[in-house]
């Protein structure tokens, strides 16, 4: 099993969600995040004074998938979240040792 984590632009959340549903993903966890990558935030101007906004608002999407599905899920997220401009975000996946469904106690792939 693998945990796929995606950091995407907030306004892309709906498209990512739809793409994941289309790819057969049954559940996900979404949380607010803020950060920056190579784009290093942006500047805003108030009454002529410049303010650097380093940490840009992002959304973090986390999905648990079977090993064989990971690549397809990553592809689906990237396709849905891409605008081609800086700040589109990142997607990565890591191996997961154990998954338990709290309600039933099922383990491993059965718990996905």
């Amino acid at each position: 099993m693998r945990l796929v984590t995606a950091i995407v632009k907030p306004f892309k959340l709906d498209e990512v969600k739809e793409a994941l549903e289309a790819a057969g993903v049954n559940g996900m966890t979404v949380s607010e995040a803020s950060g920056y990558g190579r784009q290093r935030g942006h500047t805003e101007v108030y009454r002529g004074a410049e303010y650097t906004v380093d940490l840009v608002p992002k959304v973090r999407v986390e999905v648990l998938v079977e090993d064989d599905d990971a690549e397809a899920v990553i592809e689906a997220i990237v396709k849905a979240a891409q605008t081609g401009r800086i700040g589109d975000g990142k997607v990565w996946s890591v191996p997961v040792d154990a998954v338990v469904r709290v309600r039933t106690g099922e383990r491993g792939v059965d718990a996905l």
């Binding site: 907030p10 979404v30 607010e32 803020s34 101007v45 108030y46 009454r47 002529g48 303010y51 650097t52």
Partner: protein, 441 residues
């Protein structure tokens, strides 16, 4: 004299309009501070309504419009203002409106002048110290200065005793000197007493809610028709002139500020539009009944563009005038008062004068400068002394931890927005605001 129903209705409505400017100012200022201090910012305006109203009835009206003949301050014969019941307003002329309507209209000016100062010391003033300051400042600075400018004599039947600047012929229709230059100079003095906020100017202290700022400037604009057109003290031609000039100067100033921003920074901002409108309102205040509409357009453009540049000075000089009381109200007030020297014309108002552009020579400008700088100097010096006394006696600033944690929580035990507890409702475009709150709460 009989009471005129039309004039009385207009002055009473105008008084209510001017009162609305203070909550409007609270929104204007409140949106410009950070999430952790918006309530304190708005409270400084609201408490001014309470404090100044009570003092005005007790002795403020009497000190401002009382009749001593010394030109500096009035007497105490109208303490309690109960004597005004059944009288008509007399101030230089006799007006067919109740004296109490005049007293209430003038009260609203005293309130907003005090509230204006608070923008200079955002995020860091002890609430109790602010209350003490408001009470003493309005007594020793506003009441005398308003007497100098606004008292044309004869507040009591058969009396004389106008203010010394009114006697000199300083033209200030609705309070460019007594309200805006006065508040701006006082704000500058308080900035010197309190010092800069922790982290200023390196820590970003950007406005937390610009829609609130725009709402506030809209309410100020609306209420300002009472401030300026109401100062005619009647429903008449002068009121219509003041109304017209207030509208066009404000519109021009809004555009002037945006033009400077677009040329200098590349973008026209909503904060710039709100600030430009207020700068225009400030500048046209003293001039609104003395200039032609074309003059008002020029005054507006000058005010909008000059104030847009003036607000940047604090970074060069190192003064944390947090919400630009100096850059908008002092600068805008000076623009308006001095512009009268150029643009005033008796074609608009026979009670006015002809300025430089109407063949009146340099004399009018000189008189206007005397009025503007007398008020500026008196207000700055007295406020500086008063501020230091309050700072020594009870401390004007909250302690460092409280300032960093947020003055709302420290001084009022409240927080403005409870967004962090709405689980599930914080995703989407509001992400930035919610995370900002978590940092500062």
């Amino acid at each position: 004299m009989d009471i005129s129903a039309g004039d009385t209705a207009w002055v009473l409505v105008s008084a209510a309009l001017v009162l609305l400017m203070t909550p409007g100012l609270a929104f204007f200022y409140g949106g410009m501070v950070r999430v952790k201090s918006v309530l304190n910012m708005m409270m400084m305006s609201f408490v001014a309504i309470g404090i100044v109203t009570v003092l005005w009835v007790l002795y403020g009206y009497s000190l401002t419009f009382g009749d001593t003949g010394n030109g500096f301050i009035g007497d105490l014969k109208n303490v309690g203002i109960g004597e005004l019941v059944d009288k008509v307003a007399t101030n230089g002329a006799v007006y067919p409106i109740p004296a109490l309507a005049f007293a209430m209209f003038q009260l609203m000016f005293a309130i907003i002048t005090v509230a204006l100062i608070s923008g200079a010391i955002a995020d860091r003033a002890k609430f109790l110290a602010w209350c003490v300051f408001a009470a003493v400042w309005v007594s020793v600075v506003y009441f005398p200065v308003a007497h100098w400018v606004f008292d044309f004599g004869g507040a009591e039947a058969g009396g004389s005793g106008a203010g010394w600047l009114a006697n000199k012929g300083v033209l200030d229709f609705a309070g460019g000197t007594a309200v805006h230059i006065n508040a701006g100079a006082a704000g500058l003095a308080l900035v010197l007493v309190l010092g800069k906020r922790i982290g200023w100017p390196k820590t970003p202290m950007k406005p937390h809610n610009l829609p609130l700022v725009l709402l506030g400037s809209g309410l100020l604009w609306f209420g300002w028709f009472g401030f300026n057109a109401g100062s005619a003290l009647g429903a008449n031609q002068t009121a219509a002139v003041a109304f017209t000039n207030t509208m066009v100067a404000t519109a021009a100033a809004l555009l002037g500020w945006l033009a400077v921003e677009r040329l200098r920074d590349g973008h026209a901002t909503s904060l710039g539009a709100a600030s430009g409108a207020v700068a225009g309102l400030v500048a046209i205040t003293p001039a609104c009944a003395f200039v032609a509409p074309w003059g008002a357009v020029v005054i507006g453009l000058l005010a909008g563009s000059i104030c847009a540049v003036a607000v940047g000075l604090k970074y060069r000089l190192g003064y944390d005038d947090s919400l630009d009381v100096v850059g908008v109200h002092l600068a805008g007030g000076l623009v308006g008062c001095l512009a009268i020297g150029f643009f005033a014309t008796r074609e608009v108002n026979t009670a006015g004068k002809d300025g430089l552009f109407y063949g009146g020579g340099w004399g009018v400008l000189g008189t206007q400068a005397l009025g503007a700088f007398s008020v500026l100097a008196y207000s700055f010096i007295v406020t500086l002394v008063l501020g230091f006394i309050i700072h020594k006696l009870i401390g004007f600033r909250v302690d460092k931890d409280a300032e960093v944690e947020g003055i709302d929580l420290d001084e009022h035990l409240e927080s403005a927005y409870d967004l962090t507890s709405t689980v599930g409702g914080v995703l989407g475009p509001r992400t930035a605001k919610a995370s900002h709150m978590e940092v500062s709460a």
